[in-house]
Symmetry: C2
Subunit: 315 residues, 2 copies
């Protein structure tokens, strides 16, 4: 083991390096710097217990103008869009939804351990009247301090820093920020040309987070309710998981902006704020999970292993 030769001097170097490593910080003024909390050494509270103790203002009701409803016979899929990261695409998907572009749409592709993809059931699709077919890519946005970012201090394979931005798993480097591909992330299908997607064809991640797609495709938002209606669909058998026959397409009646849906037909929904103390407590309870079943906590948690709780408030 030749690398042991210089062990002692190296330990000193590492100690200096640790002292040089900046603690991750938040862009929000006054927010504390973040490091992985130490092992509390006590049994972890259950998620239900943590949520039951949460104050009302740790929850938010998403803006219905940012929510999409896809209605399948089995139930509703709800997507929250992220205008802070893909403003032009969010606007365009709203326009497409409002002109009825998605009526009679269908899931046309289900590739196991990858994505479910949906679009018009027609090939070629009828062109949009108001919305646009193609837009300039919105793969990343500037890190300009205008968008909140709550750091997750745990190490990540793919990005120098990860965390959450207003409810979305995200990453950043010195100059840019982007939404990450986790389970349920919704992105904009495109051809090889980076500016060939517009939102008329969307996909949701249904397996291991395909983080290599980060910064290579526009992320529109994420599924906040109803993932089970997408993830359990039969896998397509043609190339890339496309259904080999339009007869196998899985139809949805429409994809609509929630604010266009009559109040009585909306789904009451609250999502735990990702900048709340409750969320931090929840993450740490999973990071250091020690309970009747888990006896060996690892003290780390992956960005895409964190579930963001939602609930249906009484209207």
């Amino acid at each position: 083991m030749p690398y042991r030769r210089a062990l002692l001097p190296c330990l000193l170097v590492f100690a200096l390096a640790a002292a040089c490593t900046p603690a991750p910080t938040q862009d929000k003024a006054g927010a504390p710097a973040t490091a992985i909390p130490e092992d509390p050494g006590t049994p972890s509270p259950a998620v239900a217990e943590i949520l039951a103790a949460s104050p009302a203002d740790h929850w938010r009701r998403p803006d219905p103008n940012n929510l999409l409803y896809m209605d399948f016979p089995e139930g509703r899929v709800i997507i929250e869009m992220a205008p802070a990261f893909a403003p032009a695409h969010v606007d365009n998907v709203r326009a497409l939804a409002r002109e009825g572009y998605f009526q009679g749409g269908a899931v046309t592709r289900v590739q196991d351990n990858y994505v479910v993809q949906w679009a018009q059931a027609l090939d070629p699709p009828r062109p949009p009247k108001v919305g646009k077919e193609k837009l300039k890519a919105e793969f990343t946005r500037l890190r300009d301090g205008s968008v909140p970012f709550t750091v997750l201090p745990d190490p990540d394979t793919y990005a120098p820093e990860v965390g959450f931005s207003d409810g979305f798993p995200a990453a950043r480097d010195e100059t840019e920020m982007w939404l990450t591909h986790c389970y349920g992330t919704v992105g904009v299908g495109r051809d090889n040309d980076e500016d060939s997607g517009g939102g008329g064809e969307l996909y949701a991640v249904i397996g291991q987070s395909p983080r290599g797609l980060d910064r290579n495709i526009t992320v529109l938002g994420r599924v906040v309710q109803g993932m089970e209606h997408l993830a359990a669909l039969p896998r397509g058998t043609a190339d890339l998981g496309f259904y080999d026959d339009p007869g196998k397409y899985v139809r949805f009646s429409d994809m609509r902006v929630a604010s266009d849906v009559p109040e009585a037909d909306r789904t009451p929904l609250e999502i735990l704020r990702t900048d709340s103390e409750t969320f931090e407590t929840l993450i740490n309870s999973r990071r250091w999970r020690r309970d009747d079943f888990y006896h060996r906590p690892v003290g780390r948690i992956g960005l895409c292993n964190i579930n963001i709780p939602s609930r249906s408030p009484s209207p």
Copy 2:
């Protein structure tokens, strides 16, 4: 940005630290040390192209004594067991299969983004005659140099070092090795008591890798073919994703050891060796993926993002 103050001296410290960091090594004598290869800067070859160029001896035919077949009406699920990591459980599952313990079994639980679980369809199950109901846990094994380990140099959130051991995604620290929970990993269901599982109830991972389970449960092996028959099953609606009604159970005819199946009914199968040069080339082509679609490679890849190719050889 106060941490910028000492930037230059810190850069020097980091350079020293990098020089002090040992390159990961392999346990196999003569195998090269591993570091993340540099960006080749050229278009990545396609997976099919890499595999087409692979010599025959980069593939292996798994020992049929280590393979389990679960036969559903829709097709066969094939599991490769890992006797190097869970010798007693692998022996016991073989014994259970041979005494017909799994005949008329069923998937009883499908929890979205987590696991599919199967067992006898009877509650309580009929006790085994030859096999054992419970065994001492095999969560980890000693790192004693007797088991191969091909290092993946990319950083991992959950373990100090990850890689592959004879076809299985794995991790290790200074003293122990263990199989990791990736998509398709098969583990042994248990109650709170660590020694309460025996293999009569098994699960497969169907979502984001639940790595917090590592070292908290015995891993038996992984699904090497047919994941789509498990992952697309309807999600259970009772607590933890159990089906609320035995009428919803998804039956399989039997789970058998492949070596007990007549040759004519076996599925020809070859798996790419995870210690082969072809596999290394494949990983690097995904790590630095740059092609008509991917324009911004990240230069890192996650352990559970690596698919291990298999193929059906002509018999």
